[in-house]
Amino acid sequence: MEKKTIVNPLLEIRNIETYYDLIYAIRGASLTVAAGSVTAILGNNGAGKSTILKTLMGLIEDQPDKGTILFEGNRIDGRDTEDIVCRGISYVPEGREVFEELSVRENLLMGAYTRRDRDGVRRDFERIYDYFPILADRTHQWAGTLSGGEQQMLAIGRALMSRPKLLCLDEPSLGLSPILVKEIFRIITQINGEGVTILLVEQNARMALNIADTGLILENGRFVMKGPSRDLMDDPNVQEFYLGMQSETSAKGYQRWKRKRRWR
């Protein structure tokens, strides 16, 4: 994949710290997302990946505690979520969060809430149904009764409806079938090709690093590794813990007693 040169950072997170009440979740993380790039954040369970995105979206009240977030050069930390969204960031939350008692169609409509151009919205409807044909079949079904994967598609589709500048995805491939995982990543690349910047949190490290320009690894609320995704893929530690290479030959008994290694 062609390396994109860093033109100007679309999003810049500087040294943010986030607390959940007394739990210190993000311990000073900085990150720059270049316009037009795909950035992937990897990390273990509980590392704080989702928290970074939530902080960015202004979803955690009174947070970040310290640090600044710049979007297109303007400070957005401490602002209302609605405001941040209107500036052109859209977000696929962890756990889908669809509107359960609205139909699929209405969910998508809500995604386009900030938009005024009716024709564009109609075209985007087509586009989403194109990406995910099964959603078209379920147009009038309540989103709450969709299958897990369908809900995930809906959440992604909904986020795409707003035509964002920056798209933040929290584990988009969660619960999707292999064919769809591929499809999702293909769509992400395609959207990226259309000029949308992508910030991606993924467990599926291989796929994520495959399409990302930059990768970051989060441990315990701090970034422990940053770099072009190629470099990360070649790193032995990353290979062992995130890409699962070493365990290819794994057998019972060996893995069980394996010590959990962490960068600390």
Binding site: L59, E82, P93, M110, W142
Partner: protein, 291 residues
């Protein structure tokens, strides 16, 4: 037969005021899932404002009534802005208690200012004038209430159906967090709904005031309006109106033919039975969580 039809008419007449209150409650419930127990008292205070303008400041009624309606809107917005919005991590029960608290405050203010004595609202239409259609009577005030209720319903219905706001409200109710992610200004929407709902409630208060005007006047209509809204499904505007008329008719028929003593509670018994069959009211689809 004549009796029966007259009872139907009476039922519809009684239902109109329930319908207005029911609509008001539905509007707020649609966005915040809170049954607003202060609805009646919000209407009460607006009604007393109209009374004050008319009696104490000698405003003409074409000014006093619109002004009191404007007051209602402002009141609704202020309540939302100063109190409900401040609630951190609200759970539904906590919000209910807050509305009950507001109810007490408003009731206290009205009784403090005006005393508990029954007042006489100088309303342009006497509540005891009636028109006769064949053998049947309808009081003119009730005709007015009916018209207002139906118009309100239609306007609101169209508004919510054809404006994006309607769906945004529903989205806000179901998942406030996700709604904000969509860029829906949930706070503004909440404020607007409180304003509108207060307006609708206040019109019910004004229309009831010629018949009875004292601090407890809205208690019973509020409960009935709430019951009507539940009957209709709590999220459906036509449902609330339908429920209200059904309730009024059931009450009147039951009072007329079976027992007048239990007239005021029969509605609730019917509702319990109805809910056993349709647990989310007549007009709402029942949602069963999928795992």
């Amino acid at each position: 037969m004549i009796d029966f039809i007259q009872m139907l008419i009476n039922g519809i007449a009684a239902g109109s005021s329930y319908a207005l209150i029911g609509l008001a409650m539905v509007i707020i419930y649609k966005t915040s899932e809170v049954p607003n127990f202060a609805q009646g008292e919000m209407a009460l205070i607006s009604t007393y404002v109209a009374y004050m303008l008319l009696e104490q400041h000698q405003f003409p009624s074409y000014l006093a009534f619109p002004l009191s309606l404007v007051f209602a809107v402002v009141l609704g917005c202020i309540l939302e802005f100063t109190i409900l919005r401040r609630a951190k991590e609200p759970n539904v029960l906590g919000m209910i208690i807050i509305t009950i608290g507001i109810e007490m405050i408003l009731m206290g203010l009205v009784s403090w200012k005006f005393g508990a004595e029954q007042k006489s609202m100088p309303f342009p239409i006497s509540p005891y004038d009636s028109v006769m259609i064949g053998d049947f009577f309808v009081s003119t005030l009730e005709v007015l209430t009916l018209v207002v209720a139906l118009c309100t319903m239609i306007v609101l219905f169209l508004f919510f159906r054809y404006s994006r706001l309607g769906m945004a409200m529903k989205a806000t109710q179901q998942n406030p967090m996700a709604a904000r992610i969509m860029g829906i200004r949930t706070r503004r929407i909440l404020m607007a709904t409180w304003g509108i709902s207060s307006l609708v409630g206040a019109s019910a208060g004004l229309l009831l005031s010629p018949v009875i005007m004292q601090p407890y006047m809205m208690w019973d209509p509020m409960l009935k309006g709430f019951a009507a809204a539940v009957m209709g499904g709590m999220t459906s505007l036509p449902g609330a109106v339908f429920g209200a008329y059904l309730l009024g008719i059931i009450e009147n028929l039951f009072g007329g033919y079976i027992s007048i003593e239990f007239k005021s509670v029969v509605a609730f018994a019917v509702i319990v039975l109805m809910l056993c069959i349709r647990p989310s009211g007549l007009f709402a689809r029942h949602y069963v969580k999928k795992v």
